[in-house]
Subunit: 103 residues, 2 copies
Amino acid sequence: MDIALATDGFSAMGSPSRFAVLQILVKAGQDGLPTGVIGERTGIPASTLAHHIKFLAAADLVQQERQGRTILCRANFDHLEALAGYILKECCADQTSIKEAAA
Amino acid sequence: MDIALATDGFSAMGSPSRFAVLQILVKAGQDGLPTGVIGERTGIPASTLAHHIKFLAAADLVQQERQGRTILCRANFDHLEALAGYILKECCADQTSIKEAAA
DNA sequence: TCGATATTTCTAGTTTTATCGAAATAAAAG
DNA sequence: CTTTTATTTCGATAAAACTAGAAATATCGA
């Protein structure tokens, strides 16, 4: 996991609008949802929504696949899981233990 | 976990400079580190660093405690863990299972 | 082909954010 | 009480993000 990739991901999650979109897609699971449905559920105008989904896709948090007239969006669960694990990955690696400090 | 609290947290993590600060504190563990040491390790100018740490503290990712002339910064591990878990918390809750769809 | 539907790109205005030098504040040392 | 050290606040500027209407693109159906 590159640090730039990680911060792109967190940055993409850091907007309330985008996080709402992401949560809807996470709940939807592998089936995903078309952009239009996401727009209905969130109330975000189409052009704004397209902007946010583009942002999420650029961070590899969401994948888009055209299906006829609609575009199906799916959360990238592998990457989301990797990001979740990355936050505390090297937790306490540099910590001076009490034992070590006493020695 | 409030959604605003979650997005504040991810937004705070979403800057490369701030994530670098956070990672250093996560590695440092419960001992924490003074602001000055973080500045030395990251190379971020003091005023810029103060701004970023304030941002991290506002999102409750970092706690600051004055100790004499220095200010000790510590990662808020409980909150970081909660955020990590929140990403996929309701994963697939709305998913239409294949079985369900067939019925 | 023409019209309806779904979504994106363009464009622009407004709001946030990032950066960092200089000045201010806080605490310890001399 | 003055100086040194550690950190923050102020102020100004530049860069980026958020928002959303209007126009463009893509697909399907009649």
